[in-house]
Symmetry: C2
Subunit: 223 residues, 2 copies
DNA sequence: CGAAGGCTTGAGACCGCTCAAGACCCGTGG
DNA sequence: CCACGGGTCTTGAGCGGTCTCAAGCCTTCG
């Protein structure tokens, strides 16, 4: 199994592999496979046995678990550079979540059996993986903390403050329903919290555009 | 900085390093340091800059964040073999939780600057670290799922089913207050949930001893 | 025996959830 | 260009599970 020439180039040019020796990179391209995933498609489902470790090169992916009545709980949004499918590293376990592409995605796929080899032959990638998994643990810690300690409005405020802003305007990157779920809220509660913050003069909402009028007060809400 | 002879032996004999070549092990013992942590002591605090990665050899550690009124939110209980202090791998970040020893603990300490070297020289450990971090991500996923989707009694039932049993008796390994916090509950609610399960005839509680009368019905509660 | 800490029990309040309906947004096709 | 339709989001009303506050109990340890 080899990878298309142009896809190889795309991978080699990827920021994730900046400063990596060409020899290591070439070797990695032989071991790994590239995979493209169209918008809305599922990469895997909860309960599958994967056997593969994934590195997300482009696009965004949503990890979630099904809940009652066709609903779902969003566990994590993944972006470029994130490493996932970690069950592959744990013998005897199955995947714990669904992985769905939010946009068209490019992935690097590594067979579980090759992971040990990758660690020895491409330690740079091993270290990136360690750093990335650490980042994810930290993010999950933050989430647990928010869900347990903050009110609905506080969680929304915290989320808004974490979004990238152009000027004082932020853009909600996913459906409100999905963001609400990630924050551990019902869509109705998320909506009401946004209205609340708007009524207090801290923000203005129009669709997915949110204008942050007073970031300091938003921040102060979290105390 | 070297390590006591007997501590070296203890580390070498540790299950975590089973099947590791003596040369790698010796090298590791030069890079890493052993640290002992008495019961109740804090290894670090939220906000500290650590610069160290820790491998827990013996004992249990509690990761938590302070909450209002001298209370705290327990994020994770760690046991032997767990790797933590992961902020060390992420430049520019500080530790996100407090780490407190629940019993006397033995740790292997690795300076962040040496991690890359460890990955190249002791890939076995790098792989264990990857696997362990993956396990932690999975555990956090499960926790998020429970907190978001399950009622208080369901969370307690799930927790009880996960505890090791001798016969049909389980033992709550930490203070009920701490377990409650880990489950995202107030101590009062945890207590009431246990009473509820007892009233339904599924368990009996006496102090930290819990007898599971009907594991199947407990399991069925989670649907 | 007394004190301290952890746990339990009770009563009441509140936040977020549920259910239901209506409004908005946007792509599609006439 | 406009009307339509599906999906998404908002708004309203009422309910209920969990939290809060407060007191009492039990165990442990000095």
């Amino acid at each position: 199994m080899t990878i298309d020439k142009d896809v190889q180039k795309k991978i080699a040019a990827h920021p994730l592999f900046e400063g990596v020796a060409r020899s290591q990179l070439n070797w990695l391209l032989n071991v790994g496979q590239a995979q493209s995933l169209p918008k809305q498609a599922y990469l895997y489902h909860r309960g599958d046995q994967s056997g593969f470790l994934y590195v997300l090169l482009t696009g965004h992916i949503k990890l979630s678990v099904p809940a009652e009545r066709g609903s779902e709980k969003v566990l994590e949004f993944l972006g470029p550079g994130d490493v996932f499918g970690e069950s592959a590293l744990l013998p005897g376990t199955t995947l714990i979540a669904d992985a769905q592409a939010l946009q068209t995605c490019e992935l690097l796929v590594i067979a579980a059996a090759d992971v040990m080899t990758v660690v020895t032959r491409a330690p740079f990638l091993a270290q990136k993986m360690l750093a990335n998994l650490s980042k994810r643990v930290q993010a999950l810690f933050r989430d647990m903390e928010s869900v347990s300690l903050l009110s609905a409005a506080q969680r929304v405020a915290e989320y808004l403050l974490r979004q990238p802003r152009e000027g004082n305007q932020a853009h909600l990157p996913y459906h409100k329903r999905a963001i609400a779920s990630k924050l551990g809220l019902q869509p109705e509660t998320f909506s009401r919290s946004l209205q609340q913050l708007a009524a207090d003069g801290l923000i203005s909402v129009r669709g997915a555009k949110v204008v942050i009028h007073d970031a300091d007060k938003l921040q102060a809400m979290l105390a």
